[in-house]
Amino acid sequence: MNLWYQMLSVLPFDWAQPGHMIFMKNALLAVIIITPLFGLIGTMIVQNRMAFFSDALGHGAFTGIVIGVMSGFFSPLWAAIAFSLAFSFAVTLVKHRAHMNSDTVIGVFTSMSIAAGIFLSTLNGNSFNKMNAYLIGDILSITTGQIAAAAIVLAVTVVLWVFLLNPLFLSSISTSLAQSRGVNVLLIECVFSALVAVIVTISMSWVGLLVINSFLVLPAASARNITRNIRSYHLTAVLFSLFAGIAGLLTSYYTGTASGATIILFSSAIFMVTFLMRKRAA
């Protein structure tokens, strides 16, 4: 970390000076790790039309965190991850088995989990206020240990992506084509939604439930406007996500606003610009 602090000290910002504002420096490093991760998995969330699904996973993760905090498990995070995983499998299975529109299934699960989360956190007259942090998110609270964890998650995701992308991408084009190529569509979907669930759960307290889905969807949606193949799609989504992350964090320092929301405003601006630039064909 000291190396990182030294690197930053060459920057002309007042917070970047040695010995100052450690939390800001940590947050910047965290953003540099987390935003590319969101940009990367966002590509296939948008490609597989899972934007609503990932939103549901966010709500499931929120309930998981409430359960984790309440139960005083050996670590709230592990309880939260366990619940989110169970939630993601449940939604995926029901979506596959029930002959129901997936948006209905997802809507049902989203309502159920957020209601359960609020119910549990206000049980016995408890105030909901202590959960506000998870709604808005606070990246400035991130610790060095958590940054290391995020870096590990990023590394694991990149490795998984080497194996996961092709089958995921084929199923997005056509389920029957994917199946005829030997892809187990249900298995791939379960693995992917589990990955999204884990990432969403661990980053919930830094990013916030209200905006976490925008972190996943906006960079990829913007990249789709201007790219024509899957490589430029990935690269552009990751770069947009990273750029909005850094710009949003720095701006939030000077405007005193919540970082997550500020980052999303940058992402939204990028989406607007790319939308206007979009020229199809080719």
Partner: protein, 259 residues
């Protein structure tokens, strides 16, 4: 030789007519979903280098037959592929061209991406090595579509898209090419082009082609054998034989009254 029988499956079904050719035998295929018998005692014999068309009314079990062949639904019976050189019989590999799939028109995916993802283990999001690109190009050349390699899937016309999926189905070269209503939504010109291409490929690679269609005029023009399916095989033979059959006229022209 033609009496050869092994533990894998039934003996090769034909005598002189296809001793030196490869063929596939679908023997006594039955599919039952819940209480409903969808396919019953279906026997089909596919010859290499020939196009066999399966026709039948809606609900005849055509799509179930496709699913069974693709292994996506359970069935009883045997599907066996016999090679011309007398090597052991096996389950045929299948190249599948689905009904015109609806791509998201905005999808940022090129034809090359699709090829890489479907036919190689190389992660399509990383830089694609030159040799893999060349392989994809060679495959596309088979269907005269090498110029489409960098086009976006969403920007292809219906005909172009089916040609790309056709090339994909030929990689690796399957034992049976399964075309499931491949020309739906294409214009007349595109349909002719597509079937001409299928005819060329079928001869060039001595390929068994199984076409599911309800486009009777095109079936008559391009099929070598026609199978009239309605839960079971009602009639099979050359197009003119099947089209002259009572059952055929009953199925498609209401009671055989019209000619």
């Amino acid at each position: 030789m033609s009496q050869r029988s092994d533990s894998f499956g039934p003996e090769k079904p034909c005598g002189e007519s296809c001793r030196n050719k490869c063929c596939t035998l679908i023997k006594d295929m039955n599919v039952r979903i819940g209480e409903t018998q969808i396919l019953e005692h279906v026997n089909i014999h596919l010859h290499c280098g020939e196009l066999t068309a399966v026709i039948g009314p809606n609900g005849a079990g055509k799509s179930t037959l496709v699913k069974a062949l693709l292994g996506q639904t359970d069935y009883t019976g045997k599907v066996t592929f016999f090679k011309s050189d007398g090597s052991p019989a096996r389950t045929p590999s299948i190249g599948y061209v689905a009904q015109n799939p609806q791509f998201d028109v905005g999808t940022p995916v090129s034809v090359l991406d699709l090829f890489i993802a479907a036919t190689t283990g190389w992660p399509a999001w990383l830089h694609i090595p030159h040799r893999l690109r060349e392989t994809a190009e060679t495959q596309l050349k088979k269907v005269n579509a090498e110029h489409l390699i960098d086009r976006r899937l969403g920007a292809l016309s219906g005909g172009e898209r089916q040609r790309v999926l056709f090339a994909l189905a030929l990689c690796p070269m399957p034992d049976i090419l399964l075309l499931d209503e491949p020309v739906s939504g294409m214009d007349k010109n595109g349909i002719e082009l597509f079937y001409e291409l299928v005819t060329t490929i079928k001869k060039e690679f001595d390929l068994s082609v199984l076409l599911i269609s309800h486009d009777l005029p095109y079936v008559e023009k391009y099929a070598d054998t026609v199978i009239l399916l309605n839960r079971t095989v009602l009639k099979s033979g050359t197009p003119s034989e099947v089209y002259a059959d009572e059952g055929f006229r009953g199925t498609f022209y209401g009671g055989g009254a019209a000619q």
